[in-house]
Structures are given as structure tokens and as C-alpha cells.
Point group: D2
Chain length 165, copies 4
């Protein structure tokens, strides 16, 4: 794979344990050390743009993310993002030409024993090497078109919006 | 993703420590429970063909693996396999038409704290949804053409055979 | 060891991350499955009294805990408890005669990768088999007299109150 | 607790993943980093005497272990040791005066996800602070008199030798 740009924005994937008296909920991005630990055979660069729960990501933030990606020389982009507004950010990236972009995150913090974080990062990394240019979401082991997926909050999972009646 | 056929053959990924033998032996395949734990959004079926360290996989075994895949109705296949002869098995699957097949495994058992198993399974699952029909290897975070990759034993990693002199 | 009574009251040790609430909440007590997994050679019984962060444990709650222990036939008691008011609860148990009681908890949830939960439970279990009757706290690998220990919130650790000036 | 001397001798607790082509089975002792990670409130010193599976520990080795402990100024000693001949080594330490010594180990390597290593180390550390001088074994959550315990190989656990007929 060509050099991968990784843009981190926060989200559950990077959450620490926090309690009522903690100021800092979202910690250092975990993806860099995960990829190093997995001894990946490609180069990558991590750009930490923000540390936000995605319920608090504003449209201004989304434009910041978009601008960072559009300005990069790199053609393959992995974005870690909170799951609650991941689709919204993905849709804003859809018209950036000539880049293959995959957003992923986690429903449980990477620091948790049975987190989906490492699996989801793996899915995104594998998909990035085979997908056509465009923007995609990797959650629950599936590669989604952002126009056709939503997060089902009650069941805490991503699902297709194309459910037949 | 369409329904995924998972063929397990053994390998380090499924090894467990057995204190009474002071040794590691191949246990129950881990991939089914890993995918369930990750709450993947696709159906899958696990066929356990053998439990062999891939140094002990024979050509007869490889033909068994090939026959199982060729006979299946399913078009997307994930094969877990020991890393030592993974390339050899992959090459034997290359001429099966109309199937997208990815082989993966792990350099450390899935039961180990910092194993690459879950990451590699994620890579394979993500890649399967975007690759063209054919056979591929997912190791060290890269999707490899089996004709162009080898396992470097000294460094315990997969690398391209296309290294310029 | 004679049969161990385990009283659970909540605390960080049992917290789980709930994505839909973007928060940690106290889940099912972990100690029973931890001891089973460790294949301990003694009998034990788990009594779940409450699921409270110990900042929210009231004096009425502490009397409930005390009454449960005082009424038991069992002589060896392990109490899992939040760390913030663990000392306060311990002091209320000090005058229960003929019982060896150890309180422990964790600074990170048992469900976290690098939690102190299992280690602390081990400390408490080991100490219970050697201590004289009375009440003790097991945190940070030390067995403390509750009259001589406090939780240092800034450093998130337990320390002796007997620091010379 | 007074400063703890930790003597490491190898055993399953420190085993790496190894295969037919590995030379080194027993890795760097894990106990030092475990205790640091748990932020224990006492000082300790690790002396690595050997890296042996305890089936290969000789009487000469046992005398080496004994001599190291007897010569130390420290009064509280934790010995990590393979489980297969742990009782034998313990019996040789029984007559060292004025020291509280606990042997522990693990039935699964500390590098494994669900290892008993951390729990057993916790048990030993907790017990050391309450036991009378003498030698003890901490396994399966129990503190054993070495004259009254054996390892049951079929069931892979420690049990009392005082079973009534």
C-alpha cells in the first residue's frame, strides 16, 4: 500500500476510563501504536486534528477534516472518528476526487479488553488497499457506502438504510 | 458482504498453551468467536478442515482445501492457515474461477495478549469486500499477490519478493 | 481457605463502557467469573448488595454492608468497593468480631486491558488466608490498616497517612 | 511491606510463544513490569537466577536458589518458578530462618490473555505481608504448606495431599 494518511478526530475508540472527576475523556490516539504493534508493512503518518466525541463535532470541524484531507498529497486516507456522527462527516468527504478514504471507529474503547477497535482498524486497512477512490465506512466488519448506512443507536450497530418494508 | 465461507486449517493463530505437555498445540479455531464478539454484520459459516501447523501441511492437504473451496456455492472465502506454507497453499487456489479468496493467519496465537490475529482477520474481512476475484494473502496489514510475497523467517514477517538488488 | 463470602457493592472495578450513553456504568460484578477463570481451590459465594460508585454510597448503605457481613456464618469476607470511600466503609466494619475482612477494588475497570482488578483481587485473596481477624484494605499491592491509609486523588493511589512532616 | 526480594527461575509464567523453530522458550521475566504496571506501593528488587522449565531444574539449581535467598538481607521473598517441581524447591527452603518466602508461578504464560500469572502474583504479594516466617506456595488462589500440597498433573491444578480415602 502507498503511504497511508491517518487522520484522528477522537471518539470512543480513544476514550480512557473516566469518572465524574475526570477532565480528560479522550486520550492519546491509539491507532499509531496499534499499527506499530501489528508490524504493518506500509508507511503511515498520523495527524491528530481534534479529540472530540462525535456528538460534539461541528460542521466547522467537519470542514477542517475535509480541508486536511483535500490538501494532502497522499491518496489513501484512514479517518478515526466517533460513531455517532461518522456518517455525516463521511458524506462531506464524498466529492474529494482521487482519494480512497475509509472512516472507522469503535463502539468500545481500544483500551478495553474486548474492544472492536483493532478489528475495525484492520478492516479499514484491508479495504483501503482494494477499494476504488471514494469515501467508505468500515464498521461491524462491513464496508459501507455512507449514503446507505446509519448507526442504529438502540442496537448499537451500523446497518443498511435499505431495509425493505 | 455476501455470506462468507471460512475455512480453518490450523496454524499459530489457533495455538493454545498446554501446561501438561509444556508445549503449544492447535486448539479450537478462534475465528468464529472473534467475529461473533465483533458483531459483524454479515453471515458466515466456519468449516474446520484440519488442525495442522503449516510446516506439516502436505500437498494432499492442499488439494483437500482446494476441493472444499471449489465445491462451495459461496463466492467469498477466508482461509485461516499457518504462516509458514501459506503462500504455497495460496498458489494452488489461484486458478479457481469466480471466487474472491483471502488467506490469513497470525504470527502469535489469538489467545496471546498482543496477537496480530484479530487485526489480520479484520484486514482479510475488509479486503474481501473490495477485491476482485482471485486469491490474496493478508499479513502485516498488507494485501499481497501470492506470486509476489514470501515469509521472511529471520524477521518473522511477510515481504515482497520484488526487492531490487 | 474456608468458604469465602464475597460482597460486591459496585465501584470502578465493575464499570463497563456504554456507547449509547457515552459513559461508564457499573455492570455485572466481575469477581465471580475472575475467580472461576483462575480455578481457585476454595469455595466462595457472591452477594451483590448494590451497584454504586462509592462517591454515592451513603451511611445507610454502609450499615447495609455491615449488617450483611455481621449476620453471615462465614468468617472470611472479601468486599469489592469503589476506591473513593473504601476507607470510610472499612472503618465501619472494624468492630465486627471474629471475622477477617478485606476490602479491595480497582482504579481501572476489570474490563480494561491493563486493569489492576485481577491483581488486587489476588492480593486480597492471598492476604485473607494469613491475616488475623479484623478489617483491612488491599490496594496498590499493599495490605493496609484502614485507620492509617487514604486515597490520594491527585496521584490516584492509596498511601499511608503516617507521612512525617 | 518491607522491600521485597523477587527471585525468578523461569517456568511457564515467563514463556513466550515458541514453535519448532524457536530456540528461546522462556523470555524476560514478566513480574517486574507487572508490578510496575500495578503501581505497587512497595520497593522490590528482581534477581533473575535462571530461565528453566522446572522439569529441568536440578538439585544444584535448587541449592543456588537457596543460597541466594539465605544470603540476602531482605526478609520477604517472592520466588517465581515452574509449577512442575515448585514443591520440591519449596521444601529445600523450609529451614531458612527469619524469612517469609512464597513461591508462585502460572499454569499459562503471563503473555496469554487469560493467564493466572497476575492473579497468582497478587496472591503471593498479599500473603507475604501477613504470613509468619517460613516457606509457602501460592497457587490456585490458595496459600499452601509445601509439605501438604502437590501438583495434580491430570487436572493441571494444585491440591492438598491430605485427601481422606
Amino acid at each position: 500500500m502507498k503511504k497511508l494518511l491517518i487522520v484522528t478526530t477522537g471518539g470512543t475508540i480513544d476514550k480512557n476510563y473516566f469518572d465524574d472527576m475526570s477532565d480528560y475523556q479522550i486520550g492519546e490516539p491509539m491507532i499509531g501504536q496499534i499499527l506499530q504493534q501489528m508490524q504493518v508493512g506500509f508507511e503511515f503518518e498520523v495527524r491528530q486534528l481534534m479529540r472530540k466525541d462525535s456528538l460534539h463535532i461541528t460542521d466547522a470541524d467537519r470542514y477542517t477534516i475535509r480541508a486536511e484531507i483535500a490538501a494532502s498529497d497522499l491518496s489513501h486516507i484512514l479517518i478515526t472518528h466517533g460513531t455517532d456522527s461518522m456518517v455525516k462527516t463521511a458524506l462531506l468527504l464524498a466529492d474529494i476526487p482521487d482519494k480512497t478514504m475509509v472512516l472507522t471507529g469503535a463502539l468500545n474503547p481500544a483500551r478495553f479488553r474486548d474492544s472492536d477497535a483493532v478489528f475495525n482498524i484492520g478492516c479499514a486497512v484491508g479495504a483501503l488497499q482494494a477499494l476504488q477512490p471514494g469515501v467508505w465506512i468500515a464498521m461491524n466488519g462491513c464496508i459501507w457506502d455512507p449514503r446507505k448506512v446509519r448507526k442504529n443507536r438502540e442496537q448499537n450497530r451500523f446497518e443498511s438504510t435499505l431495509t425493505t418494508g
